[in-house]
């Protein structure tokens, strides 16, 4: 039996290399999703119950409505934004360094027709697609809680995908240069968690002293939270909405370009 028939020519399909990387990510997820299902769905629901119902009772009893909504309704779209960011960021830290340094699977990938840039495109588009679906499920759940009050809530999955991509791209650029996972622990503690807390997620930006509001507005996540809230309630005016979208799109584009360059340097130098 001959294992390699040198003369045989096989009709290969002609899907672009980045798309092959995307289907690889999807197939990998389909084989390993059980490990991440808890963080994908259970945590947001637990969060929602604890914050919305638990803290909500307290808030509603003391201050009444928050920006015209019960606390549960106020906080639910923000939690959707957090979920999209957190899952995306998690996939672009340890797993990227593992693929570069520990398990080294990216080195196997760039020995095939794929280029490092294809891996970036595959990863980013996969996270966009995955978080689209995840946030769609989440949107249905919060709608059941009564936390959406406008047809514009159908935009929530698109916003979830945009947040995922906007964080994934710069994070991949960053992780492509990291040498040790200690850096990720620091990044998580000093950047990700503060951003979760101070992006007007748990209370409105109007709660901050006027002089500090600009800090909140510098948080990339703030723009995602604001978009989610607008979509859920059908509020917001075109100017600020466009600004929020622009910030996220800019993060995605700049991050994507730098990520392609950094990963190339790391893998094929």
């Amino acid at each position: 039996m001959s294992i390699v028939t040198v003369t045989s020519s096989v009709s290969t399909r002609h899907r672009p290399a980045w798309f092959r990387a995307l289907t690889y990510e999807a197939a990998f997820y389909s084989k390993t999703w059980r490990a991440s299902v808890i963080s994908s769905f259970l945590f947001p629901i637990l969060y929602l119950s604890a914050m919305g119902i638990g803290v909500g009772h307290l808030v509603n009893a003391h201050t009444g409505l928050v920006e015209g909504h019960t606390y549960l309704h106020f906080v639910a779209p923000g939690l959707l934004a957090i979920t999209a960011m957190q899952l995306s960021v998690g996939e672009c830290m340890w797993p990227i360094l593992a693929a570069i340094k520990w398990v080294r699977t990216y080195h196997a990938a760039v020995a095939t027709p794929l280029e490092p840039g294809d891996l970036v495109t595959g990863k980013v588009s996969w996270l966009g697609a995955r978080l689209f679906v995840t946030t769609a499920v989440y949107a249905v759940i919060i709608a059941c809680f009564g936390a959406t009050s406008s047809w514009t809530a159908i935009f929530l999955p698109f916003i979830g995908a945009l947040i995922a991509v906007a964080f994934a791209a710069p994070l991949i650029a960053f992780s492509s240069r990291v040498e040790s996972d200690v850096t990720f622990t620091m990044l998580f503690r000093f950047v990700v968690v503060p951003m979760l807390l101070f992006s007007a997620t748990f209370y409105p930006v109007s709660q901050y002293p006027v002089g500090l509001r600009w800090i909140v507005q510098l948080m990339p996540l703030y723009h995602g939270v604001a978009l989610c809230r607008s979509a859920a309630f059908g509020t917001g005016s075109p100017g600020p909405l466009l600004a929020h979208v622009s910030v996220l799109v800019a993060m995605a584009i700049v991050g994507y370009v730098v990520a392609r360059r950094n990963l190339r340097r790391r893998l094929v130098s």
Binding site: T12, R20, A108, P113, V268
Partner: protein, 313 residues
């Protein structure tokens, strides 16, 4: 492949150079590899073998020099070249969380092969790698030898014309090595061109039709294994060991008896035509080593001759 191209070298390097910052890892080397050949790069750790392999697999960009693979320029046609290559890297790059079979099925996606075809080939290749029974085991649970065989199986999914193996058997026990060698013979007889790096001289002698000896980024010798040995060494070697308390062996007595000799920390090597004759002469001269061994010259001796160092230290 049309017949006309088979006379052209499959890989051709001229002045191939790789720098890492100020450090030169590959120092302007020249070589040509023909279709169907099994070509070796023999050298100790740090010689520049991996750096060379990464350029020949159209992954790393050369700092200087010309390189053509299948007559194509890796700078412009990297993906097209890599579609026709199989690569077994020095360090394992398997998906440890996935099963053995899934590792193959998933990797086939990168070559955009139809799903059905990937499945067929994966089944064949598992058989080839003697891993059929382990198909549904998690890759993480395999032994080192099994992981290497799986990596080789994976590298064959796209039916490569050229298979590049970077230290395929380093760290394996003798049994696992021999099984791997046997699989590589089969590939060779199937017409696959092989490039193998190794720091084991027996591996190079067994597997390679032709090889280059690398040291410090340079090629210091080139030829068929037997050719290199007859060029750079004698027919036989007499190895003498002395008691540990003898710090300086009786060189002045031994040196006239041999064409050449090497004093290693644990033994003295006498390069001679007939080892048994020389051993009699050694005894006649009143020298009594603890043990004496007559063997044929190997590539290890060639390397020692050319660089003054052993391959594996």
């Amino acid at each position: 492949m049309p017949q006309v191209t088979s006379s052209l070298p499959l890989v051709r390097a001229r002045g191939l150079t790789k720098d890492f910052g100020d450090f030169r890892a590959v120092n302007g080397i020249d070589f040509e590899i023909s279709r169907g050949e099994s070509f070796g790069f023999l050298g100790p750790n740090g010689a520049g073998k991996t750096s060379t392999m990464r350029m020949v697999s159209a992954v790393a960009t050369p700092t200087a020099g010309d390189l053509s693979i299948f007559g194509l320029d890796p700078h412009h046609d990297g993906p097209a070249i890599r579609a026709r290559l199989g690569v077994v890297p020095q360090e394992d790059t398997l998906e440890l969380e996935l099963t053995v079979l899934d590792n193959l099925l998933m990797f086939g996606r990168y070559f955009d092969l139809p799903r059905k075809l990937i499945k067929e080939r994966a089944t064949e290749l598992l058989e080839f790698a003697k891993l059929t029974e382990r198909a549904h085991d998690k890759c993480d649970n395999l032994s080192g030898g099994m992981k290497r065989r799986l990596t080789i199986a994976r590298s064959l999914l796209n039916q490569p014309e050229l298979l590049i193996l970077d230290e395929p058997t380093t760290g394996l026990d003798p049994q696992a090595r021999h099984l791997l060698w046997e699989r590589l013979y089969r590939l060779k007889s199937d017409g696959v061109t092989l490039i193998i790096t190794t720091h084991y001289m027996d591996e190079a002698e067994q597997l390679c039709d032709r090889l280059v000896v690398m040291d410090h980024g340079d090629i210091v010798a080139e030829g068929a294994p037997r050719e290199l040995i007859s060029q750079h060494s004698t027919r036989e070697v007499l190895e003498l060991r002395f008691p540990v308390d003898v710090t300086t062996p009786p060189i002045d007595v031994l040196s006239p008896l041999a064409d050449r000799f090497e004093v290693l920390p644990d033994r003295v090597l006498l390069y001679v035509h007939d080892g048994d004759d020389t051993l009699r002469a050694v005894h006649a001269a009143g020298v009594t080593p603890v043990s004496a061994l007559v063997r044929r010259s190997t590539l290890e001796d060639v390397f020692l001759r050319l660089t003054g160092r052993t391959l594996v230290d």
